[in-house]
């Protein structure tokens, strides 16, 4: 079976740097900066104030509604401040500055005595996930318990576990699948149970043959579980592309996976679900890849939420050379940073440090209308037209050209021989269009 999706590009993998490395744990840094809200949806509200003593797993900020998630203390210590702090995604965000006391003491009753996952009811699973504040680890940080509670009229038949990890450089999902495959499968089953699905597909790109082989072995006995060896092609892991490739269902812009009977979860999300259901453990750390030519000692590291880049990078031996760009996430969708005083958040997947030699400084040219951006766009857009309209200041035009459908995968910009900053223009358009929509209402 060949899994094909629309558009996409072939990217260099650059995964060799960390692919074979085991997961190490970051020693607890002197200070954690825990953003109060780390998901999309209603913002959470801080529940602690300066000078409060907190225990590991204690709720620091409480969900502000159903589509929202709690944030728990990653370790025990003192709240030094609740204030605006630089944030790797939003620039600035209200954060809780936590000074660990070094004891790393759990809150009373945590971890819970192990619960038999077989006995957990769908409601219990959802509650456990909600209590644990789990958000999607695939990047979007959408509260997972919401996805596990599909409305009655949207029956779910399939759960997709997204182990594609199509972003170059990143190997954190790979490492997780190697480290805790059984927990991952257990989490996936729990998700199936929660949504009432009958099918489970684990999609992994074929540049991870070891994991593919291992998972196939482990699931051979299960008729309702299949492992899909996906061709390595970016953005294989994007929800829509994955669903299209694996299940042949097309999910248009504006629709959710559940509209076609699917729930997609990242492998690390599945592991977190398993931890939450079995031991009641909240999402207080995340597995990230620290890599790039400017890092002395690239690693896969498990870090507490709120660890600053500076501390993480120091743990990886610091810089091998002057970094020119530091990216939170992968090179295709990640956010370039200007400071190392920013924290890792729950959905973090990597810190990438590129040297000057890795940057493409070829001059920008006018669009030659080669049409490559159209061919590679998984959403079937005309990126160059949207960019042109943005340049001309015609945002109504950009809206009509469906700028809002763009998933910002970056394929168009990657492929453009003229080096046009298409995604940047489209992101500008989306910002302005959303702004206008807000004003219209």
């Amino acid at each position: 079976m060949v899994f094909r999706f629309q558009g996409g590009v072939r990217v260099p993998h650059h995964k060799a740097l960390t692919e074979k490395k085991l997961v190490e744990d970051l020693p607890m840094p002197e200070r954690l900066i825990v953003p109060v809200s780390q998901h999309i949806g209603a913002p959470a509200k801080a529940e602690v104030k300066r000078k409060d003593e907190v225990k590991k797993g204690q709720i620091l900020s409480r969900a502000g509604g159903f589509v929202s998630a709690h944030v728990h203390a990653p370790t025990s210590g003192t709240v030094a401040a609740v204030e605006e702090r630089p944030n790797p995604v939003s620039g600035k965000a209200l954060s809780i500055v936590l000074e660990p006391d070094g004891k790393d003491e759990w809150l009373e009753g945590l971890p819970m005595a192990e619960r038999d996952p077989q006995t957990a009811t769908p409601d219990e699973i959802r509650q456990a996930v909600q209590a644990a504040g789990i958000v999607g680890m695939g990047g979007a940080a959408f509260p997972t318990h919401v996805k596990l509670a599909p409305p009655k009229d949207k029956p779910i038949d399939a759960v997709l576990i997204n182990g594609a990890e199509c972003e170059p450089y990143l190997t954190s999902d790979h490492a997780a699948m190697k480290l805790r495959p059984d927990d991952m499968l257990l989490g996936a089953r729990l998700i199936m149970k929660a949504v009432g699905a009958t099918r489970l597909v684990i999609g992994v790109e074929d540049n991870k043959p070891d994991v593919l082989r291992d998972l196939e072995k482990r699931t051979a006995a299960d008729p309702d579980i299949s492992v899909a060896a996906l061709p390595s092609r970016y953005p294989q892991g994007a929800e829509r592309s994955l669903i299209h490739a694996v299940l042949g269902r097309k999910l248009p812009a504006g629709k959710l996976p559940m509209d076609v009977g699917v729930v997609v979860q990242n492998v690390n999300t599945a592991i977190a679900v398993s931890d939450a259901v079995r031991f009641g453990l909240p999402a207080v750390d995340t597995l990230i890849t620290v890599t790039g030519s400017a890092v002395r000692d690239p690693k896969n590291v498990r870090v507490p939420v709120g660890a600053r880049f500076e501390d993480v990078l120091a743990f990886c031996g610091g810089f091998a050379s002057e970094p020119a760009k530091i990216i939170y996430g992968g090179p295709m969708m990640g956010f370039a940073q200007y400071s190392l005083d920013v924290p890792v958040t729950k959905s973090g997947s990597g810190i990438l440090c590129l040297g000057a030699g890795d940057l493409d400084r070829r001059p920008l040219q006018a669009c030659v209308r080669c049409g490559r951006c159209l061919t590679v766009c998984p959403m079937g857009l005309v990126p160059t037209r949207i960019a042109e309209l943005v340049e001309a200041g015609d945002f109504d035009g950009a809206e009509e050209a469906h700028a809002l459908d763009c998933v910002e995968c970056g394929c168009c910009t990657f492929e453009c021989p003229s080096r046009r900053p298409l995604v940047h223009a489209i992101r500008t358009a989306k910002l302005v269009i959303r702004d206008r929509m807000r004003k219209r209402v």
Binding site: G91, A336, Y338, S339, V390, E391, G393, P421, H424, A425, R427, T428, L431, V432
Partner: protein, 296 residues
């Protein structure tokens, strides 16, 4: 030669004249007078009749009002173009006569008179760039590699400028002015030509950072900065940033200056009555509080 293809050729003309109507026939002026009279009368009648009996009568006042508007088509009135405003202000009693910003009081008075509406005074205002952090003074915090557009730059954590309130300098504001009143200066800050600016506010609207403010022309003193940061942060970012030290506020005997979250703001309406601006004597460290004359 295609150029000569349209010839109502001489031959044709002559055949016509010569064969069908020898010159002698034209001698009979009655035919000619009859035809011309007939044609003229027919057309004249048709037009006049249509105009009187068929034409949709438009309020002629609309045209009169439109004539008086400055035709900048800037949209500051909130209507798509001067003609639409003219129509609205004539037809709709709730539309105010003073909406045309470029026209100012003079036009407002005329429109009010024409439409029989009550005239309210509009303050003539002008765009002021509330930032002095030019490319020499303001520090950058990163190298921006992207579209030269203020909005796009603002998207990436608020742009490369260390100050999060200052002008980004890509000139979005200069692109929207219908009156060519604002342009980029040599050091990366936009410059407003006071004599051309009509205060329509398009530039302020376009600025993603709200750096541009519409200030009454009678304003005397301004603190051209928008930074609400505390002194320490400001000092690191820019030499021309308001530190929020409130020395000027203390120096002003009329309470015309208020501190708004570490930023001094001057109230021009109080300030205009002041003959002796003591605030200027305050030891403003960045030396940005200053006298302005915005009368174009």
């Amino acid at each position: 030669m295609p150029d000569s293809t349209l010839i109502v050729s001489l031959q044709e003309m002559l055949v016509a004249f010569g064969a069908a109507a020898a010159p002698t026939e034209i001698e009979n002026p009655l035919v000619l007078v009859g035809v011309m009279l007939g044609l003229g009368a027919t057309f004249g009648f048709l037009l006049a009749y249509a105009d009187k009996k068929i034409a949709v009568k438009l309020n002629p006042l609309i045209h009169v009002v439109e004539e008086e508007l400055p035709k900048g088509q800037c949209g500051a009135c909130g209507f798509p173009g001067c003609a639409k405003y003219a129509e609205a202000v004539v037809e709709d009693p709730s539309v105010k006569p003073n909406l045309c910003v470029p026209g100012g009081d003079a036009v407002a008075a005329l429109v009010a008179e024409l439409t029989g509406k009550v005239m309210e005074k509009t303050e003539p205002r002008v765009a002021v760039v509330m930032c002095r952090g030019d490319s020499e003074i303001a520090r950058q915090r990163y190298l921006y590699d992207g579209i030269p557009d203020c909005r796009s730059a603002n998207l990436l954590f608020g742009g490369g400028k260390a100050c999060e309130y200052g002008c980004l300098g890509f000139g979005n504001c200069t692109k929207v002015c219908n009156f060519e009143a604002i342009s980029m200066g040599p050091k990366g800050l936009p410059v407003v030509d006071l004599s051309l600016c009509v205060g329509c506010g398009a530039c302020a609207e376009a600025c993603p950072r709200d750096v541009i403010e519409l200030v009454p022309r009678h304003a005397k003193v301004l603190v051209p900065c928008r930074s609400h940061d505390k002194a320490g942060v400001v000092k690191k970012a820019c030499e021309a940033g308001c530190l929020g030290c409130s020395l000027c506020k203390k120096a002003c005997p009329h309470d015309a200056i208020v501190m708004d979250n570490f930023l001094a703001r001057v109230n021009p309406d109080i300030c205009k009555t002041c003959d002796d601006p003591l605030c200027l004597t305050a030891k403003c460290q960045p030396k940005i509080i200053g006298r302005v004359s915005l009368d174009g």
